[in-house]
């Protein structure tokens, strides 16, 4: 039974909540727990028996970093991986429909679709088993998880038959409570899905024919007939038809919308590494830094033996960490340099940035409420009531922080050379 997987990676206009980090690298390649965000997806797909090909789909221009990553990943996971570029943003279903021949080539009789900006255990085999068990091998499966009643409103909400798990109702980001089962952005489809997307496409074409000015005036492409949203356009219609099922997982899951959620997602993946990739977790050993909890250190990084790292720290390629440095709940991107005695907490330190000695760079975590097992991370907006909401601190690429200052809850745009302390500011 040949299988395929499609990873929806979006494009440059997406990932705005990930700025300024998405200026340097496409968000899907941003490192989470030491490896590019979508590598976690690829690893999970590569483990599924019979999965023949992975297709990354988005509207990024061909990109050197992306090609290099794909080449390396093909090597490492021994599976063909290709990038399919949409000619415009076609929405979460438009691209799949446009490239349906590519997906079906080689006789795939089922395929996964994964949003790139989620972190998950990716229980893909369990989704296959679930479909097998309820008997209708021609049905579609959404991976669902439980949210709390308030946060569920930020997601696609699913009402399902308690016995059969058949989806009876689907609504994307409702304004009132519908269900606490939410869409994880991970799906299992059969080729029959293209008929359903095709119907939406035809309806769009007819509507555009009736009011042609809509098509002409659109400059952003959203009025094209080819732009189709899987959630609002397809799932909503499929609900109650007996074709759509939800498989609920209790495994970890989070969206990765804001930079703050990248730190949270790193924590989830680092936890998973103790099972899946113990070799990626740094150990306390003589002559090495002091490790507290889960820490990833790239083999090329140079970390002083008096530094104290963790929990939840990822140190990128070629990073230098000086004597007496403390890092906790942070991501240090490649080429950055942390001088002696610096203290870095809840921060993303951008590529090739430098932090002078005794500087303190600190953010405020936006972790989900630890007392609520179903709480999700809030993909906070930058401003609330006209004020910058306290968030993790982000240093863009090639930022220079002088010695002895404090940078608190701030976002520093790339190439800035600061000369003093900053708090709760966006430094442009």
């Amino acid at each position: 039974m040949p299988l395929k997987a499609v990873i929806l990676i979006g494009g440059p206009q997406k990932g705005t909540r990930f700025r300024p980090l998405s200026f340097e690298v496409p968000k899907p390649l941003f490192p989470v727990a030491g490896v590019p965000m979508v590598q976690h997806h690829i690893e999970a797909c590569a483990k599924v028996p019979g999965l023949k090909e992975i297709l990354l789909m988005g509207f990024y221009q061909p990109h050197e970093a992306l090609s290099r990553f794909l080449a390396a990943a093909q090597q490492e996971f021994k599976i063909p991986i290709r990038y399919l570029q949409e000619y415009a943003a076609l929405g979460t279903a438009g691209g799949i429909y446009h490239f349906r021949d590519q997906i079906l080539a080689g006789g795939a009789d089922a395929f996964f679709v994964l949003n790139a900006d989620v972190c998950s255990e990716f229980p893909l085999q369990e989704m296959l088993d679930f479909r097998q068990q309820h008997g209708d091998t021609d049905s579609f499966v959404i991976l669902g998880t439980t949210a709390n009643r308030t946060q569920a409103l930020n997601y696609g909400c699913i009402v399902a038959n308690a016995d059969t798990q058949e989806v009876q109702h689907y609504v994307e980001k409702p304004s009132t409570f519908v269900s606490e089962i939410i869409n994880c952005g991970i799906y299992l489809f059969t080729p029959a899905i293209f008929q359903h997307i095709g119907q939406v496409f035809q309806r769009n074409q007819q509507e555009l024919a009736l009011c042609p000015y809509l098509g002409e005036e659109s400059s952003n492409g959203w009025q094209r007939a080819e732009v189709i949203r899987l959630e609002q356009d397809v799932f909503t219609a499929l609900a109650g038809s007996g074709k759509l099922y939800v498989y609920k997982t209790d495994g970890f899951w989070s969206q990765i919308k804001s930079a703050g959620s990248a730190i949270y997602a790193s924590r989830l993946y680092l936890n998973q590494y103790s099972q899946s990739h113990p070799e990626r977790l740094a150990q306390n050993k003589p002559g090495g830094p002091i490790i507290r909890g889960n820490v990833y250190i790239h083999p090329t990084a140079s970390v002083d033996s008096t530094a104290v790292l963790g929990p939840n720290v990822s140190i990128g390629e070629g990073v230098t960490v000086g004597a007496g440095v403390r890092i906790r709940e942070s991501i240090i991107l490649h080429g950055a340099s942390l001088h002696d005695h610096t203290c870095v907490l809840n921060t993303i330190v951008g590529w090739d940035s430098t932090i002078g000695r005794w500087a303190r760079v600190e953010g405020t975590p936006s972790d989900p409420n630890p007392n609520d097992p179903y709480a999700k991370i809030d993909s906070e907006t930058l401003f609330r009531d006209g004020r910058l909401t306290p968030s993790i601190t982000i240093l863009g690429c090639s930022v220079t922080i002088p010695a002895e200052v404090v940078i608190l809850n701030s976002i520093v745009l790339p190439h800035k050379e600061l000369s003093r302390s900053y708090k709760n500011q966006i430094i442009l």
């Binding site: 004597a323 007496g324 002696d340 005695h341």
Partner: protein
């Protein structure tokens, strides 16, 4: 005794007998520090000669005595101690405890003897006299004509520095009731031609508030640099004027100074950066922390990778957990701080 609010933390739990917590190794500075550190609220009264005054073990008298233009009641205690002070007929010093200068006791005693009046007060020049009560005196003799509270036009640029010497005769003027020495006794003495002003040389600072205390400490250390540079600390990692008690321990890779005073038995671990701070006896600063413009109270423990700044004041025996940031925190004694204080506030 209660303390003025503004200086609560370091003194709130200290009894007047604990003045030995001085961070300074020299006698002179210990003296000054003792006064300011323990924030002894009462007038300091030491009978006899200037020498004895310096060696005095700290006052046996004490009463709440807010300084400056607040209601002053310093005179009452003098009446209380009438017998002690009148003993031997010698002049005695009276000092406000919350000022710092070079304390010219010998010169003041000489000046007092020379003019033969009942009292002498030390005055210091200020740039903006309109903010203070000023002293108008005769240029040559120094005899005080009058006091003018917050003058609207310029009459003098000299203010009361809070250092006095009196002959026992003054005691006749004071009754056993709350009395402001500045407002009630001095004007009468001036009227009678019994009060003289001696102008202070060098620096002077009212150190009644923590912020000013730190400024006063900087001035004091600068004066020490000029007069007794050998008392200041030097060596690798020491920057500018730094005073370190010989019993204090400072770790490797620290940078201390400028303007730091480190008290007896203090332990500063490796990789610590301190500038413009007073660290009182028995405190411990753990490795890689960074402190600027702080007063660290007796026996405090400041954790690793702590950053404290902007006039953070820790009372006695405060514990600051690792990795915290304290910005202008005013922490009462015996507190344990487990969360950062990103904006200035009082921690009770």
């Amino acid at each position: 005794a209660t303390c003025p609010r503004r200086w609560r933390p370091p003194c709130a739990s200290r009894s007047s007998g604990s003045a030995s917590a001085s961070p300074c190794p020299t006698r002179r500075s210990r003296w000054a520090q003792r006064l300011s550190d323990s924030r002894r609220p009462g007038a300091v009264v030491a009978p006899g000669t200037p020498r004895r005054a310096q060696a005095a073990p700290g006052p046996r008298l004490g009463c709440p005595r807010p300084r400056g233009d607040t209601d002053s009641r310093a005179a009452g205690p003098l009446a209380l101690a009438r017998d002690l002070l009148a003993e031997g007929g010698e002049p005695f010093f009276v000092l406000n405890s919350d000022v710092i200068c070079e304390f010219p006791f010998a010169a003041l005693a000489r000046f007092h003897r020379q003019h033969g009046g009942e009292g002498s007060i030390v005055v210091t020049r200020v740039e903006e006299p309109a903010k203070y009560g000023v002293v108008v005196s005769e240029p040559d003799s120094g005899r005080i004509c009058r006091f003018v509270e917050k003058p609207r036009v310029f009459v003098s640029n000299k203010i009361n520095a809070g250092l006095y010497i009196f002959s026992p005769g003054i005691l006749q003027r004071i009754q056993l009731r709350p009395t402001s020495i500045e407002k009630e006794i001095f004007p009468a003495m001036a009227q009678d031609g019994q009060l003289y002003a001696m102008e202070l040389q060098g620096f002077w600072m009212d150190i009644g508030q923590p912020k000013d205390f730190l400024t006063g400490m900087c001035m004091y250390l600068q004066a020490l640099r000029a007069q007794h540079p050998e008392k200041l600390h030097s060596g690798p990692g020491v920057v500018g004027n730094v005073l370190v008690d010989p019993s204090a321990k400072i770790g490797a890779n620290c940078v201390i100074g400028p303007n730091v005073t480190i008290g007896a038995g203090v332990v500063v671990e490796d990789g610590v950066r301190i500038k413009r701070c007073t660290v009182l006896q028995g405190a411990r600063i753990r490795s890689h922390s960074w402190l600027e413009s702080c007063i660290v109270g007796w026996s405090c423990s400041v954790g690793q990778w702590v950053r404290m700044e902007n006039v953070t004041v820790l009372g006695e025996d405060v514990i600051v957990n690792d990795e915290l940031y304290l910005n202008g925190a005013n922490v009462l004694p015996h507190k344990s701080i487990a969360e950062s204080v990103p904006e200035p506030r009082i921690i009770m």
